[in-house]
Symmetry: C2
Subunit: 345 residues, 2 copies
């Protein structure tokens, strides 16, 4: 048999007061005599009274909770982002409700509907990779549901988003390799149709151009299956390393591809960075893992989460729509390890 939690009504009955008096006493209203206050608060404490947040929500038309929709929670980018989201939410008195879209449009729609039917005050959303039709999101937007997109963002007029400057990150990474003395830097990129791939390759090319280094098409390899298929990585690497003008360094533009390129190098006894300079994009905190010698462009998942949650809660708590923060752009951090100094030249 379930314990029935104590309510204001119970307290009122027990003390021979009215519910409003109790309510006011508990909220420390100035219009209640100190004596009554004391009695009520004492009784409430003794009986471990807690206000029912659901009743409050119904009354105040807000639930003090925000919804988060991501692809897969187990994806470490998302779990780190959620970590950041939770930290801000906790700070500001919100709880976090998680939903996954499993990279399926259908699941995304049902998750959004579920959250949106007034049980959350706002939504943080990373759209599924399968989502090309944004009607369900637009609909919510038009109904003024506070919403912030991050990571995989949709792009329509007015939607708020937090993104990473991929072009700058790739530029910075490439420039870093150039400054270390590498002369012939190749690029292993992810699927050519992804916007993040295009942005990163752009940054790579811009860096080469800034230092008047030649851009060789053959030095850019696209991995179209997300780096899941090892053969694809092998092929790309062999392609690169069999050229007469063999690259002396690599910038790898996706985290999954990064780990697999590292694995390839390990299996083929290619020493990083002595034989091949390398910088990889990575969301995973590689500190814990087996790559002590790889410099990494870390996407600030935690920071993205914090920034997005902060923006969302600001939107929720402001009466008027916030337009000035429409898009927030963050920057990747370059984490250098075992400084990639080329031994040979």
């Amino acid at each position: 048999m379930r314990f029935e939690a104590i309510t204001i009504k119970d307290i009122a009955k027990a003390l021979g007061l009215s519910t409003s008096t109790v309510s006011r006493a508990l909220r420390d209203s100035h219009e209640i005599s100190p004596k009554t206050k004391e009695i009520v608060i004492k009784y409430a404490k003794e009986n471990n009274y807690r206000p029912n947040p659901i009743a409050l929500s119904l009354k105040e038309k807000r639930s003090s909770s925000i919804g988060v929709v991501v692809g897969e929670i187990a994806n470490s980018f998302f779990s780190q982002a959620i970590n950041g989201i939770e930290s801000i939410a906790h700070e500001k008195g919100y709880n976090v409700i998680i939903a996954q879209n499993k990279e399926q449009l259908e699941r995304e729609i049902s998750a959004l509907q579920f959250l949106a039917s007034r049980s959350v005050d706002g939504i943080l959303l990373s759209v599924s990779t399968q989502t090309s039709d944004f009607d369900h999101i637009k609909q919510l937007y038009e109904r003024s549901m506070p919403m912030v997109c991050f990571d995989c963002v949709v792009d329509f007029e007015g939607i708020h988003k937090v993104i990473v400057d991929n072009t700058k990150a790739a530029f910075d990474g490439t420039e870093h390799l150039i400054k270390k003395g590498f002369k012939n830097i190749a690029c292993v990129a992810s699927s050519s149709n992804l916007s993040i791939t295009k942005e990163r390759v752009k940054g790579y090319i811009e860096a080469l151009q800034k230092y008047q280094l030649p851009v060789h098409e053959s030095n850019i390899q696209y991995i179209n299956h997300g780096g899941v298929i090892l053969e694809e990585i092998s092929e790309a690497m062999q392609q690169l390393l069999s050229q007469k003008n063999k690259p002396d360094a690599l910038i790898v533009c996706s985290d999954r591809v990064t780990t697999n390129v590292m694995r390839y190098c390990q299996e083929n006894k290619i020493q990083i960075p002595d034989q091949l300079g390398m910088i990889g994009f990575s969301n995973i905190d590689l500190t814990d893992l087996l790559t002590p010698s790889l410099s990494v462009l870390r996407q600030p998942a935690y920071e993205i989460g914090r920034t997005a949650a902060d923006l969302l809660i600001k939107m929720i708590e402001s009466k008027r729509p916030i337009t000035e923060f429409e898009t927030v752009v963050l920057t990747s951090n370059l984490i250098e390890r075992n400084s990639s100094v080329p031994k040979k030249k």
Copy 2:
């Protein structure tokens, strides 16, 4: 200005009906004329009516949501467990509210209070490593809040929990190495005061005994700082490998220690498994990472999450307390890679 969602009352007013008629029509009650039903349902659909879950919660005294308290969401064990939890919850129509205890007792208490004040129907809990006083949990238990512990469990009469058979896992792993032909197997364990460490070392010893292999105290190394400090790993490994009767294989009893032992081997050019057989415990899905040659005892985080959520929801939905499922014990999976066959010997 915030969009005001449509309610039953709005529909009733618009159609000149009473709220109860509308409510019944929407719930497809048999005591409503087909004509009225049709009109109401059509109007509701057109105006995108969604019942307000908060009002429902208030009425039904349930929120169709479960709370999860873990140490750190970004910890991949937890994020995978949450993944499992979410999958079951979604299946059964519950949403998942996340809270972190950040491995602090204080945060744990506030998280539990927050969730418990009737906004969730049940709680899944992995207690913080700092928690030695269980009053706050017992209190909830006594108020009949449905609760299931997993991973870091508390142990008092009647509490429901989902745990992993660590002894069996270590036994299986050690036995596997023995069957592969390794004769002198060492054990790198985590902090000696943790229960999981004791259980795992127990399994290791039992396996050796079963095959009449000698148990050398010097072959068991405890890592007391969780494997964070690399020096500790180095020291332990040197200790082991400098013995006159050098071990030919290792069982590593914690995931963080596993990755760092791997790193040590990599840096010291010790080939796995040719020079040293090895099996490690791991929560992380190492498939994606840089250890193609390590066999792993995978703790089924996803399965733990599913099992715990399933049990919790059964408890929530049953009228009487469930006693028969008090503790569920799961088994680790041994994932073999590049079969650890010793070349020499």
